[in-house]
Structures are given as structure tokens and as C-alpha cells.
Amino acid sequence: MKDYEMVIGLEVHTELSTKTKIFCSCTTEFGGEPNTHCCPICTGMPGVLPKLNKKVVEYGIAVGLATNCSITPYGKFDRKNYFYPDLPKAYQISQLYLPICRDGFIEIEGKDFKKKIGIHEIHMEEDAGKLIHDPIFDTTRADYNRCGVPLLEIVSEPDFRSADEVIAYLETLKAILQYLGVSDCKMQEGSLRADVNLSVRPKGQTEFGTRTEMKNLNSFRSIARAIAAEKKRQIEVLESGEKVVQETRRWDDDAGYSYAMRSKEDAQDYRYFPEPDLAPVEISEEWKAEIRATLPMLPKERRNKYIEEFGLSDYDAGLITGIKALADYFDDVNAIVNDPKEVANWLLGSFMRVAKEGEDDSFRILLDPDKLAKIIAMIKTNKINRNTGKDVFFAVWKDNLDPEVYVEEHDLAMVGDDDLVKDTVAKILAENPKTVEQYKGGKTKVLGFLVGQCMKELKGKADPGTINAMLRESLK
């Protein structure tokens, strides 16, 4: 079998977190009873006039600047015509000819790669409604609450060569969008969606193979699985002497395979034409400068700050600043305890693990920053030992309990009584003459056993380091 290479391009749709829809003043709030966030404009009634939400343009400019794009000085909207009941107008207002941003890039890195992924273009458009199949009447119900929610479609160049690169790009892009505050990027709620355009070609070949487009990818995990499955499928098609058909495929994550969505004779012909109901959008240098001035610190900048100011390693700084909520949390805890390395160790250890426990890709922080700060402070002041600190963390995390109260209630504070510790050490030594002999005979490894026995006797409420030192002293 030949050696094949994958070529992937991504179309990422992100729902913007504006208060209102793109062309009408209905709320964009998620959920709600069907068709209660609707008006004649977003349900496509005849004779209505859409009016563009200024915030959508501002967010578009901000994303373009943050992804190194050039901003189109004179842009407009176009109609993309197709019949599908999730769009009641029978067309989607989008941008084909003059999208708001073009020619940008995002830098990504992973274990064995560091590269730039080109952004072909970013355009503004409206989201569609939701269709629910009704098995009893064998009909479909349409809910237009999401119809008209503003979207940015971010189209990459076909620059990816592996699933790892795709995931790294999505994580980086998600962080940028969250830092900018333009989208909450919840894949489960559909506010971040990625379509994967994939083709394979024999290694060394310069021209691209025929690509397919994969839809319905609801998590990073399903994206990685779908890429692996589609690569395998296309290679098998080619190896059997057949040709890959250009088509749209739908990924079924439960079944672990994809199937073709539209047949070829139904090839899409969208008959785009300029949207006559919306005025063109002119973006002046002044407007651009104004938005550039309001851009917050972006992940890359913040990472450098963490390295230079806090002395964190490049890797640790990258992990923490890669998730905005985590970086904000870091700042909050560190403002109290003023020990960046200690805070980083906590966040990248136990914390990261429990925060990612959810089913989806979401990152849940259930404990207030001042509460983690309290745990760290109790360890530093020797009120509890490090192991107890970890136990307390896991115990208070879920219900956001006060760790000081928890330590009090469960009597976990270290015994401040030095005599009690001394007595315990003496007692354990007396109870284990054989072990003591082994130690004195050169088997110093057994010290750990003695430390353990003392800790057990003291119900874990002592500093193992102190006990260790005391034991060594007594066994001299």
C-alpha cells in the first residue's frame, strides 16, 4: 500500500454572544419555548426589512484583527438561495463576494509541530432554525428561536495534515474567541461548530485529491474520530481502484461512521446575489483603530506575561492561558496567595482533572478562587499537610464548600502538639523492633513504613517531613 497524506481545511461556525439577533431585535438567549424568540423578520415574513446589528460588525472586526486578517473596507451581504425549512425565507443572508475579513493566520503548536494555519476568510451570516422530526405524524416541526442568531464563519486554508493539528487549531481559535468575549464557544449548544473538508493523496503528490465535507461534529473527540475514519475510508476507496466522490457526509458518533448526505444530482446551486435589503458596510481606518485599541490581552501575550512575570515554564504558561477561565482563575488565586508556581501546580494537577470531568469539552470551575487560596494558605502555614490539602480540595470542589470550615468540622488540622508527635514516634519505634533492626542493618527503605505507621496513628494530621526527620534522629 502507498503512503498517504491527509489534507484538511476547516469551516468553523461560531455563534456570537450579542444580546440580539443579526437582523432583528429578538433575544439570542439559548433555550426558551419553541418560536418565542421570534418576530416577522426572523421568521421570514414578506415585506419586512432586516437591519444590521452594529455589534456583529464590531465583533467581526475584532476577530479579524486577532487572527491577523485584513479587514475589508467596503463589504456587503449576499443571498444564498436554497429550500430547506430551517430557513423560512428560502435564503440565508451571508457574505460571498466581499466577506468582512480575509487572508489571516493563526499560530498553532503541539508535541511535534509548530506552524501557521492560514485563514482564507471570515464572513458574517445568520444561523438557521431547528427542525424536530415528529415520528407520530411523520412530519417535521420547525422552531425558529435560533434563526437569525449571528454567526461568523471562519474558513481556513487547507493547511492541516493531521487530526492533532486540527484540534490544536480549534483550541487556539476557541481561546481567542473567548478572550475577545465574542462567543461562549459551547460545542454542545452549537455555538462552536466545525465542518471538516478532507482529502488524501499519495505522499509526494502536489495536487490535492477529491475532498469530502464532514458535518455534525459535536465535540473535539468526535472530530478526531471522524478524521481518522474518513482518512481510512478514502484510502480504502483509492486502494480498491475507485474514485473518491465529492460529497457532504454526516458523522454518526454513536455508530462511529459517516454516510453521504446529498446525492450528486441534487448538487447545490445557491444562486448568490447581492442582498438588496441591507446597505453595504464601510469600515474606516478610524473604526478599525478604535476596535484595535479595545482588544483585550490575547492568549499569546498573556502566556508571555506568565513566563516573564511569574517565572512559569513555557509549557505550563501555555496550558493555563489556553483556557481563559483557567487563566482568570489563576490570576484571582495568585492575587491572594502570591505564589505563582504553587498556584500553577495546583491548577495543572488535580484541578485540571476535575474541571474536565464533564461529558463534553466544557471546562467547569466549581470552586471559588478564594477557597483554593485558603487551602494553599493552610498548607503553607502548616495547618494541614499537602496530602490533606488534596483531600480537602476534592471534598469541597463540587459543592464549593469553605475549606477552613471543612478542616474544622472533620478535625483535619495537624496536631500542633510536638510532644504528641514525639510520643507517637517513640511508640511506633517500640512496637516495631524488627523494622528498627532492619533499618539499622542498612535497609533504610523501611523508613517509609515507619513514617506511614506514625501518620496512621496520628490520623494523617502531621507533617510527614517532620516525622521523617524525627525518626531518622531517633534511629541514629
Binding site: 440580539t20 431585535s25 419555548e33 421570534c38 446589528n53 416541526r141 422552531d143 448526505m261 441591507l278 446597505a279
Partner: protein
């Protein structure tokens, strides 16, 4: 330009129009006339003319991002040919 039967077939299917034989012949003639008119326009030299997408000189017609209460659902569904459980009911649509 010759408008073939295939073009009529294709365009009417895109527009979801179910045309009978008589209508097809009529529409074919009309489309041919429109295209012929475009051919006349094409004889003009437009090298120095900016393409126009809008007739009005207006740009940047914006709305502030402020929520206005949506319509009562009953009002919205009044125009639906069929509705059920607060939703528009449409023929079975699956991908």
C-alpha cells in the same frame, strides 16, 4: 442565447416550480427575451464603470444591540399553514 429544455427543467426545479408543458414553452420564450436583452446590454463598454450592488448611496445602516420583546407566539404562528405544539409544522424533512 438558446434556452434549452434542460435549462428550463433545471431552473424550475431549483425554484420548486411545477410547470406543465404549455407553461414551459411560454417561460422559455420569456427567458430568451430577457437573456437577449442582456446581450444588448453587453455590447456597452463598461470597462470604466464600477459594478453596482445597491441603488441607494446609503452605507452603514446599523441597529444598536438592544433587545426588544419578541412577538407573541400565537401571532407568529398565525401565518403558518399548519402548526403543532408551538412549532411550524412542515412536511417530513430529513437529511
Amino acid at each position: 442565447m438558446i434556452i434549452t429544455d434542460e435549462i428550463i427543467e433545471y431552473v424550475s426545479s431549483l425554484a420548486r416550480l411545477d410547470l406543465n408543458a404549455e407553461e414551459k414553452i411560454k417561460i422559455k420564450g420569456e427567458i430568451e427575451k430577457i437573456i437577449d436583452y442582456m446581450d444588448i446590454l453587453n455590447t456597452l463598454d463598461t470597462a470604466d464603470v464600477e459594478p453596482m450592488s445597491h441603488v441607494l448611496p446609503a452605507v452603514n445602516v446599523f441597529r444598536e444591540d438592544e433587545v426588544v420583546p419578541s412577538y407573541p407566539r400565537d401571532e407568529i404562528l398565525k401565518n403558518a399553514p399548519d402548526s403543532d405544539e408551538g412549532a411550524f409544522r412542515v412536511p417530513k424533512t430529513v437529511e
